[in-house]
């Protein structure tokens, strides 16, 4: 960036690409082009043959019989009469012949013509590529001969911009692409810490719930949480774990993974639409800061619903920890999980409890939709 310093390098193009080499490459590409041209001509010959054949086959059954000269050996012919003009023995390839009528034969021939056309198309595409390559080599050769130089200079600012741009794109991707990609994007370490915090909270929650005897509330949540969780489990497992870890769950649900995948994709599509934003789309949006961008999300919902980022931590991690923790947590995991992002201090328990009540009725809608999709 400093002025006065040499910022770039100047290299004559001829030292990078010697003119001779470029010419050689160009001639090689030209040879390839002519080869392709030959193939193309051959194919076009086939196509005209095929067209003529179609015409002939269509014309033959118009008469009951035709007077023809039958070839006899290489040089001799004798007059003959063509009868059964609507019976053809068509070579299908590989020595297989089938008896067909004129109409059916024409159909076969037309299909063959289509195959030929597609071959011609692909050949033409490769020809275009080769031609572009050849012209590039030619241009390089002539430029090298003219003594053109290449000036290279680091453009720092551009790099900076690019980085910003890519990060922006990433963010957008994060909002749009959900579920499958999200765990990749999320940082595992942060996730782990969040998981720990969550489990701590869960334990406290459990104790509190037990003390209050607040059973009905728990059951409400259970209904809401289980479908969400099963989905979470599904796609977490799907991306990072072998069939073995998922199979138990899949069998439970008695749904094939393919079906689930389809369903999930549908759901993903639904969740990418911000207007659909509901409890379901929350869980598929990967990061907390991203979800906050969705204006239709209420704070209470976010508190209520499991923090999606934390959720996307690999399931095995969860399993592992449930094993190490006392049995009360495993119970919590199956149903009555109340999760919230770790930023919310644990001391604010009562505060977070209150907004739970109004939103308690809300999740019924997303759940029902999910169930509908899963069926």
């Amino acid at each position: 960036m400093e002025a006065g310093r040499v910022k770039g390098t100047v290299t004559p193009l001829s030292s990078l690409f010697p003119a001779q080499d470029a010419r050689k490459a160009a001639s090689r590409v030209q040879a390839a082009i002519s080869e392709n041209q030959r193939k193309l001509e051959q194919l076009q010959g086939f196509i005209t043959d095929n067209d003529n054949m179609i015409k002939l086959v269509q014309k033959l059954p118009e008469e009951l019989h035709h007077e023809v000269m039958v070839p006899f050996g290489k040089a001799a012919f004798f007059p003959g009469r063509l009868i059964h003009t609507n019976e053809f023995l068509v070579l299908l390839g590989e020595g297989y012949y089938a008896e067909r009528t004129s109409k059916q034969t024409v159909e076969i021939l037309k299909r063959r013509g289509k195959a030929l056309d597609s071959q011609v198309d692909s050949l033409k595409a490769t020809m275009d590529n080769l031609k572009a390559e050849a012209s590039f080599f030619d241009a390089t050769a002539s430029e090298a001969e003219e003594g053109l130089v290449e000036i290279k200079e680091e453009y720092v600012e551009e790099n900076f911009c690019e980085q910003e741009l890519t990060s922006e794109v990433n963010k957008q991707d994060v909002t749009r692409v959900s579920g499958v990609d999200e765990a990749k994007i999320a940082e595992i370490d942060a996730e782990y810490a969040r998981m720990m915090a969550r489990f701590d909270e869960l334990e406290k929650e459990e104790e509190l719930a037990a003390a209050n005897g607040n059973k009905s509330d728990d059951e409400d949540e259970e209904e809401k949480e289980t479908p969400n969780q099963s989905l979470e489990k599904f796609y977490d497992d799907k991306q990072s774990y072998s069939e073995g870890s998922t199979s138990a769950w899949l069998r439970d649900e008695n749904v094939s993974s393919k079906e689930l995948l389809d369903k999930y994709q549908k759901q993903q599509e639904a969740s990418t639409n911000p207007s659909n934003c509901s409890g379901l789309s929350v869980q598929s949006s990967p990061k907390e800061d991203v979800t906050s961008g969705n204006s239709s999300l209420t704070q209470s919902q976010r508190v209520r619903n499991p923090n999606p980022a934390a959720k996307s931590v690999k399931f095995a991690e969860v399993k592992e920890k449930t094993q190490t923790l006392p049995p009360s947590t495993s119970q919590a995991f199956t149903g009555s999980i109340i999760e919230r992002p770790p930023i919310i201090p644990k001391t604010s328990k009562q505060e977070t409890e209150t907004p739970l009540q109004p939103s308690g009725s809300q999740p019924s809608k997303p759940v029902s939709r999910f169930k509908m999709q899963r069926r």
Binding site: L89, L91, L92, G93, E94, G95, Y96, Y97, A98, E99, R100, I108, R111, R112, A115
Partner: protein, 130 residues
């Protein structure tokens, strides 16, 4: 005296390696040819299968065996073509792995040759100086 004999040994080795390399290259070229043939056959068979699928069940199907056409069951012909496609795909897979093997060998051979050439050059340089 010893350096000259060593040099001769190296050159002999180099020659042997060069021979091996050219053999390998020939094998690779052959592999490519065979593969091309099989690919063409696979395409043809797939075309045949498509056409056979489109035929009615009562259509007469013949197979050209030598100079004569032998009548065949449509189902039988279908099964035969399917089997043939299977075989060809398996063969193609085999050829692919063989090709990979050959290319690996070729690369290692090339490296060995390069090393040998370098050693010969250094030896010759030493002799010139001496």
């Amino acid at each position: 005296m010893s350096s000259t004999s060593a040099l001769r040994d190296l050159q002999r080795e180099l020659e042997a390696k060069a021979n091996d390399l050219s053999k390998l290259q020939k094998d690779i070229a052959k592999n490519h040819q065979v593969r091309k043939k099989y690919t063409v056959q696979l395409g043809e068979n797939e075309l045949v299968l498509k056409e056979l699928d489109l035929l009615q069940d009562d259509t007469n199907v013949y197979k050209l065996i030598g100079p004569v056409l032998v009548k065949q069951d449509l189902a039988e012909a279908n099964a035969n073509v399917r089997k043939r496609i299977e075989y060809i795909s398996a063969e193609l897979k085999r050829l692919d792995s063989a090709l990979q093997d050959l290319e690996e060998k070729q690369n290692s051979n090339r490296d060995a040759i390069l090393k040998l050439q370098q050693r010969i050059q250094s030896l010759q340089a030493g002799k010139v100086k001496a």
